[in-house]
Amino acid sequence: MNVFLESALITAILASAIRGTTPILLAALGEAYAERSGLLNLGIEGMMVAGAFSSFTVALKTNSLLSGFVCAAGVGLTLGLVFGILTITLGVNQIVVGLGLTIFASSMCSFLHRVIFGNQFPILFGAGGTNEIPLLSRIPLIGQAFFNQHWLVYLTFSMVPIMYVLMYKTRFGLRVRAVGEAPRAADACGVNIYGTRFFAILLGGLLASLGGAFLALGDLAFFVPDMIMGRGYIAIVVVMLGKWNPVKVCLGGLLFGFALALTSALQVAGIKISPDFILMTPYLVVIIALLLFARSTNLPSALCVPYKRGSDGQ
């Protein structure tokens, strides 16, 4: 292979790694806040499916990508609100609610997809466009990969430092962490436990849904009911690996993005691997990453524990 082709291949791998990371990272950033505040949201998978489906359908019917994204945001906030009411206000089991929400949201999307489109899988023309940043995109090798992407990619990656500062350097971030570690102490200091948790889960729902919308509108330009394929759960793994720190979560997300991009690049490069093996890679990477890195994770102490004022505080 000559030098020119080689550099083109590297650029392509980098670009697809960034694109592949984006939906997982979006969902993971929101989940990091939710888990820090004491909520394990297993409904994230369902929220991503709902975001992908609602944004795709609305964008197709109204012919406007923006309204698709807005609709996904609304759907994500609604599902986050449902999760919040059940787990924060009513204080019921988060795992059952999360699983129920995932089963409900993903089968509801399959159901509505069949009702609206029948057996058709329309393609949304005009989706998946990129916004090139002038000058920066002309940097050799990495320019096209990093600075010729969808606007949501830029937004996602620029959110990482913002989320980091918000979590570790502001009073609000301190409160989120306090609510997840010692809710009774935080409550005694006058922190609004319910409000903080609601904020975290609404953020989680919003970002997960936007992650799904990015997959449908920013990356693939179509919707099939099983397109999320466990990305929501992968996001939860990424949060665990990144120990709830937005910067580390971003690195974890990139690990998966690269693993995915590399395997598909190997296939393109003519190495004969069965596509079924390619599909296995992300899950294998998850398991290997958990084996290697997930020793003694310090979970937020109040994760999965509903808070009730005046209770004995288990």
Binding site: V92, L99, I103, F111
Partner: protein, 344 residues
Amino acid sequence: MKNVDFATFKPAALSIVSILFSLITGGIILLAIGKNPLIYFALLFTRGMGSSLGLIETIIKMIPLLIISAGLLACFSAGLWNIGSDGQFLIGAMLTGWAAPWLADSLPYPAYLVTIAFLGIFGGMAWILLPAVLKARYDINEIITTLMMSWLAINLVTWLVKGPINDLSTVPAQTTVIPAVYRLPMIPFTRIHAGLIIGIATLLGIHWVIRKTTLGYQFRVMRMNKKAAIHAGMCVPRLTVYGLLISGGLAGLAGAGDVLAVKGLFQAGWSPQYGMTAIPLVFLARLNGWAVIPLAFFFSFLALGGEFVARDLGVPVFFVHVLEGLTLLFFAASEYFEKKWIPK
């Protein structure tokens, strides 16, 4: 006396109410897409329960649910979350589809059946071993690992059945068909295979283990309070592995049973996703083996009726899963009312 009765029946009442609420919400969804919910549910009942054929089909479909639920009963009672039973099911099913045709020739029939059962259990256990060890040793969330193993299984069995274990004499990717004489025998005078007896026996067996044995007691303590279990000297890691292996093994057994009795072969792309139904079911049964039986019947009736009605009314089959998800959500919410009504 009156109070005691009230307390015993309240869990059942809450489960029934959550099912009713999900049916009502489902009806509203049907109205919203312009279908008549009354016609839908009427057809559902006449098709699923009105004819003997529907009844037999419902019972056959209920068998894998019973066996998987038995396994989930064990691990949920121990506070362990095996969410990847679909993967364990597929591995058990794949092993059976691969081994049964040539085992049938070389073993006497009873030994052959036992071998297949063990193969299914072994497959399911093998597939949950890694999540179990990770959970026991490093406390890595088993929800994630079992799910990841499940997706791994779906792709692995597809690859296997397209390549190494494919019966090349047929066009679709599948294993060799198991001859009818080597299938699971029928219960005398019925058209239901012996899996029903195995299913009910396993379920009640696990129910008994959970309620009456030391192991079951340790499981329950572990679920209620892990720290207490450790302080009482229970070997929590070992219990964790046991709980998960039981549930994985039984999911594998359900897969073996479905291939041996109903499908007769293993096919690429076949994934009935019983796990998705079994999880809400075991919760609704409130970890009570006896309650699993009517609920399994109800859910398999829903699934089967849903398939029939999908063809007649144009309501997609996914509607049944929507109902299952709703049931789980309403059930979760009912926990709040239970706490509120029953003072500590």
